[in-house]
Homo-oligomer: 294 residues x 2
């Protein structure tokens, strides 16, 4: 039976470390890190996510400011707000909650955020720095997974890692980070996706599998080599009348049947999910320390 | 016996197409594309490369300007020259020949080039756009290989491509481009490197192999599946007294023994090499057309 990677516990531990770092900053006469978030419109999930981020900031002693804009906000108004925040020296990090309402151009909004404040790691300049192995803000989910592997003391050097899914926010950056040089990386990485004819051909050869395609219970027991490390990034909402909300979160892994043969596995929920906000906090304190040391 | 991919012939063909495009531009009242190159110091190979680029520009009707700077040029002087070229509306593309003499910081020099004129595709903003699948200038060698595969009508969709070598200028961008969505891509990509314990385990499974590690004759016949496509990016200078220069270029593939079992193969020289300058010309005309259409 696999060791369960307790993302929630690891996330809490790291939040504790960040809170202590903030205390140190205050003692040294610095101000607390300050994260700004822009929320446009009234999408329920987006409102929930922004709420979780506000709460996490409060937990570790960060200041946070949420700019709530009407769903009819124009591109020009949004870009103008971003420009103002870019110029505001009291703000260290800025995130714009995605997706944006129709009519707004996400890529130009992302490009408008100062790369120095892009704590989501979505700006192409930061994506490029990541790919080139230069220090930068890593995107939340990949950064969270890298941290989970490290905190669980999972050996990556020389291991074959198979990633399923080639999204810009998970699959592609994961492939890049795990194949990079250095501790916690140095994997031989195979990136599989919708055009891979037989994904099990690759997963059966994998020491580490990262399932990030958004297809509930896609990774079944017959696709996994006994002893593999299995990281589940999927969080699809599936109907569940037994829940008050009417749904539950389902991962990309058939957990019940895969867990008995894996060496390590992340549950859904409570695996990768809790780590994403921790990544955002880590990027924000990094931005703040850099800014206040200039 | 493999079909030999004649990079020189394909490069000449594309140069002909570019020359005709330039004629069209002139007829429409536009000016010819203009590439600027900065060469610092007196490194022999660098001087040769810059000379080849000037010659290629002349062949297709581009204007080119080479700024030759003393090897004792300071970072400040170099950055100041770049800033001037960035602001010069008569120049479409700017490349700085690497490596730079000791004492100059390559990354800040690259970052100083306007992303709109970065026809080498080395600026992190452009690297990031490439990774995110946004239109941008692709780096020369990967762009050249993508063109070779396309011009040779080699099917890539759903194929397993194994890349050996994780450099920033070849291996990593190749992995990204070949695993992207769309025609000429859609490969399942495995990126192998110095920490991969048994590279032949992966290459023997590959439909397409891209050898880009800089180790002469690394890829031997026993590592290749019969019928595979073999792309050789290596260009190591090895001593050869029978040559006037005293050396010859040796690829990463044991060509003599691999060619008989491959379906397609690139020779060295005359395979990938001639395509890199073509990529630079393609990026420069793209930059010029965009600039002059604004």
């Amino acid at each position: 039976m696999a060791t369960i990677i307790d993302g929630k516990a690891i996330a809490e531990k790291i939040k504790g470390e960040i809170a202590r770092q903030v205390e140190q900053m205050l003692k040294r006469g610095m101000r607390a890190p300050h994260l700004a978030a822009i929320l446009v419109g009234d999408d329920g999930a987006s409102m929930t996510y922004v709420g979780h981020k506000e709460k996490a900031c409060a937990q570790v002693g960060f200041k946070s400011t949420v700019y709530r804009l009407d769903k009819h906000t124009t591109q020009k108004e949004l870009l103008s707000l971003i420009a103002g925040i870019n110029d505001d020296d009291s703000i260290d990090g800025l995130i714009v909650q995605l997706p944006l309402p129709e009519g707004l151009d996400e890529q130009s909004v992302i490009n408008a955020i100062s790369a120095d404040k892009d704590v989501d790691g979505f700006h192409p300049f930061n994506t490029g720095k990541m790919m080139l192995g230069l220090p930068t803000f890593l995107p939340a989910t990949p950064y969270g997974i890298m941290t989970l592997l490290k905190e669980s003391n999972i050996e990556t050097k020389g291991k074959h890692c198979v990633i399923i899914g080639r999204s810009n926010i998970v699959g592609k950056p994961m492939a890049n980070l795990l194949s990079a040089k250095g501790d916690g990386a140095d994997c031989t990485v195979t990136l599989c996706h919708s055009r891979t004819p037989d994904i099990s051909h690759f997963t059966l050869d994998a020491d580490i599998i990262i399932a990030a395609l958004g297809h509930p219970k896609f990774l079944t027991r017959d696709m996994v080599k006994p002893g593999a490390v299995v990281i589940d990034v999927g969080i699809t909402r599936v109907e569940d009348k037994s829940k008050k909300s009417g749904f539950r979160l389902q991962g990309d892994v058939d957990y019940e049947n895969v867990a008995p043969i894996a060496s390590y596995i992340t549950p859904v929920p409570g695996g990768v999910g809790p780590m994403t906000i921790v990544s955002l906090l880590k990027n924000t304190i990094t931005a703040s320390l850099k800014k206040q040391s200039l």
